[in-house]
Amino acid sequence: MNERTLPPVTQLGMASLALIVAGGIYLASYLPRQVPLTPAIILLGASALLLVVNLLLLGRVGNFAWGRFVAVGKWALLAYTITAGLIEFAFLRDGMSGAPLLVLTLSIIVYAVHVPVLIAFTVARYD
């Protein structure tokens, strides 16, 4: 087994996804009423911050299988972009607009980037 010391990419990624999900549940649970967006924005910001931290930590790993990471990550990114597009389509179809739509769209972008990173990392770490 590969015993290299690697940053906690999976743990940070799951925490980031949990924050996105919590923000989504918060917004969804008040529909169609207007709710203060501050909690959802804080959750989104924290999630995006974890994504950036994850990428920075990963970028500092020496002797990492970046070729494998990119090869897997690009296809995973394509797949999750399609699912993200479907979710966004459902929001637009329901007439969502303004700040809530912006928050949810940014959340979906974090999701569509972070999940492929997790998949590509899990594959590349054993290369």
Binding site: I25, L86, T122
Partner: protein, 209 residues
């Protein structure tokens, strides 16, 4: 969960026929089954059409059919296939994994996406996602359980699924890596299977009011 400990022997002590069997299995599978992609495309197109049409029956059909598939697959993987895999000899386990895991790579994301997207749209049409709905507490409970399942599936299940397949494709797969990833996959499947029971309770409560 039942015992999911996978005791793969070290390569040096594996019998030669086991290695030969594993090698032939490696050459005989696609990480992503290309024949399945058109089926996925048709299903996702059907989902887009159902959401755009916003009619009750297509949304009910997609949500119920794919939701049932999601529940059954999770329970079956977590409580039947998972424990069974743990008791198979290593060559048999590799044979099962090379046939099962590529299909799971297409089936699970498709089933989950259709269930959730159709379910959300259905809730919009029926008014069950409205906060004034009399059973709103149960609806929010379903969001929370599905949220847990989504984080486990996206953060643990999918990466482990892809990584096992990529490891099996290598000229010399590392048995310990496969053991570790399969353990993670089966644990996550069992956990989401348990949460599916909560979803069944919640959905039946919402249905009967």
């Amino acid at each position: 969960m039942t015992d999911t400990t996978v005791q793969l022997p070290q390569p040096s002590v594996r019998p030669a026929h086991a290695d030969a069997s594993a090698a032939s299995a490696r050459l005989d599978f696609e990480v992503v089954p290309l024949k399945g992609l058109p089926i996925v495309a048709v299903i996702l197109t059907g989902l887009v059409v159902a959401i755009a049409a916003n009619k009750l029956w297509p949304l009910v059909f997609l949500h119920v059919a794919f939701g049932a598939a999601w529940t059954i697959v999770d329970l079956f993987m977590g409580f039947v296939i998972g424990p069974m895999m743990g008791k198979l000899p290593p060559p048999a386990r590799i044979q099962v994994a090379t046939r099962l895991m590529p299909k799971m790579l297409l089936i699970m994301p498709t089933v989950v996406t259709v269930t959730l997207a159709a379910g959300w749209q259905l809730g919009t049409v029926m008014g069950t996602v409205d906060s004034s709905y009399y059973n709103h507490g149960w609806v929010v409970a379903s969001y929370i359980v599905v949220g847990f399942m989504a984080v486990i599936a996206l953060g643990l299940l999918s990466p482990a699924n892809v990584a096992v397949l990529m490891e099996l494709k290598k000229p010399k797969p590392n048995p310990q890596v496969i053991q570790s990833l399969m353990k993670r996959f089966i644990f996550a499947a069992g956990f989401t299977g348990t949460l599916q029971i909560a979803i069944l309770v919640i959905m039946t409560r919402i249905r009967v009011g």
